[in-house]
Symmetry: C3
Subunit: 255 residues, 3 copies
């Protein structure tokens, strides 16, 4: 489900849940666990990556539609827990966005220190990233909106999240949703280059600066509890959301 790759002291956490790195409770828990383990093992920096062409397809909707309310409470806890693990990572953490990254895939990247995204090398293929929750009838809630708005400012946040937009890598760079765009075969090397630079800095000054700078990001997912997950459930189990998500699954089956 996850491959752990060492580049000297830099730890790559590669999402490897076939076929499209869809996020379920177990994968999210594994992401949190691996980040914790890497930091505890003395990694100097971390980056998440995916498979070529697909960072993560976002939530595993076909599976999640089979879950009970209680099971979904656990899912939300792990979903926001993984965001917290990324945001609060004690060492610098990047997202090597190796391909498409809709909704939940983009959400994970929002919480990293740095995002490098792959440009498809075989035109006309275009990888896209975005917050398209509204397109599929899902209210993204204040935490994801807060992390997006912190990164790109209110104008782009409202435009992308309100419109449920998926952006090309170039558009995402323009909007500040990613920090760098490179040809797809260079996305892991670019994340590694960033990680190595950060790892070369005086560690105390860096840690103190990151703690100060990211305090408001970390606060978004700190201290969440059952009522926050219940609020997500209220949206998830609403008629409109269930109807739209089931339509989406029908379309996916036909393709």
């Amino acid at each position: 489900m996850i491959e752990n790759i060492s580049h000297d002291s830099v730890c790559e956490i590669r999402l490897a849940r076939p076929p499209v790195n869809a996020l379920d409770t177990d994968l999210l828990a594994a992401i949190s666990r691996e980040i914790g383990a890497a930091a505890a093992d003395g990694a100097s920096a971390i980056f998440l990556s995916g498979r070529p062409g697909m960072f993560s397809a976002g939530l595993d909707v076909p599976h999640l539609l089979t879950q009970t309310r209680e099971q979904m409470l656990v899912f939300w806890r792990e979903f926001f827990g993984a965001q917290q693990a990324i945001a609060a990572s004690p060492v610098p953490i990047a997202a090597a966005i190796t391909g498409h990254s809709p909704a939940g895939g983009a959400v994970l990247a929002l919480h990293a220190d740095y995002r490098v995204m792959a440009q498809a090398t075989a035109a006309p293929a275009k990888y896209r990233i975005g917050l398209n929750e509204v397109q599929v009838g899902l209210f993204p809630g204040p935490i994801i909106y807060g992390a997006l708005r912190r990164l790109v400012g209110p104008r782009h946040a409202d435009r992308v999240m309100g419109g449920g937009l998926m952006l090309t890598a170039a558009e995402a760079l323009e909007a500040g949703l990613v920090d760098r765009v490179v040809p797809e075969e260079q996305v892991v090397p670019a994340a590694l280059e960033w990680a190595r630079h950060l790892a070369s800095l005086p560690p105390h000054a860096l840690a103190q600066t990151r703690r100060m700078a990211r305090a408001d990001l970390v606060a978004l997912t700190a201290g969440l509890g059952r009522q926050d997950y219940e609020a997500m459930n209220a949206a998830w189990f609403s008629d409109e959301t269930q109807f739209t998500l089931r339509q989406l699954v029908e379309r996916l089956k036909k393709n």
Copy 2:
């Protein structure tokens, strides 16, 4: 004073107060009324437009200089009321900025979800948008500054509002003061295209997301009262402002 044009379920509210869509108490009240009526009539989205080459010339200064303090209190109420009507619109709302849009014209656009601006097709004409209140001696106050800063961030807000700058469409796009620039004959179609996309989204997820995202914008003009309008009057009736505005009117008469 206003033309109401239906594009299926999308409502275009076209400012039509000759000769330059200058804003007075009646036009502002009409804008608020039309937005309320469109939403009540089940419009799926709304956009404001102006006449070719002129979205709105801003406040009707020659007329407003004839108004008493009590009349100006009513004017400010309707000016901020129109901003509130736009900001709090229950359905998505765009500004189709069909041409020049100084001061009050730009202010209305700040509160929309989306702004598409016309590029003049016959060079060297250039349409401009900006917050040039300071140029004409007028203190814009915290509400307009707040809406501008929310949209473009402190750096551009301070630069544009402090310098009283009017930007070309291209400069406005660069600064984030507008979201898209198109040749002038395409500005209404572009606003309609945006409106139709928004209208196609699952309505509850969209409404909940817009309510969350725009809460801080709506709050700027919510709960205003007499003391806020008195503060605007204090600036309006100051010696410097009256002197500068009267000079402006003299120049306008000569041209």
Copy 3:
């Protein structure tokens, strides 16, 4: 240490402490004093400039490493005092960034209304500006981070300050760390042009607008006291910082 140059009612405050305008207690106190004097003498606008190719090399590290804790408390008071003098200037104030501007040099510019930066005319020389405190083991603290984040937003602030990055003029323009880039011989004329435009505006409307817009910037350095300077000392006298700064000084001596 400082040259005072009048351009009609615009006052240029030129840093002139050989060889590289390194910031020590006296130069910082002089900057504050000159800004106060210019405003008191009725200057309509002010700009800071440096020597060709070097705006300021930042803190005078070799000298400051010889200072006691008590002397460093005085230094921090003057360092933040100069930032306060710039931020709270009653008349518009620009930074004419005539060349390199690392760390403390960049910090002064953050607090101005406007920043114009020199592009080196003899390629391949490139002037750079940045917040590279972390590179030299120094925790920049919440005030400098706050001023940077206000100017460029959280994404660029975290990237530049966390990575201790020095940007070329073009990169700084892209990030919003400066507002305009011109060939080096035009940097003073460009700052003067900006100052003259601001000086031409109705003074009360301008002053009121600047006071409103910059209130949060001014607040960052207002009301600081001994405990804030002690916090800077705690970082300065830490083992990592002392070690890294002494290494830096050794390298400087060898070159």
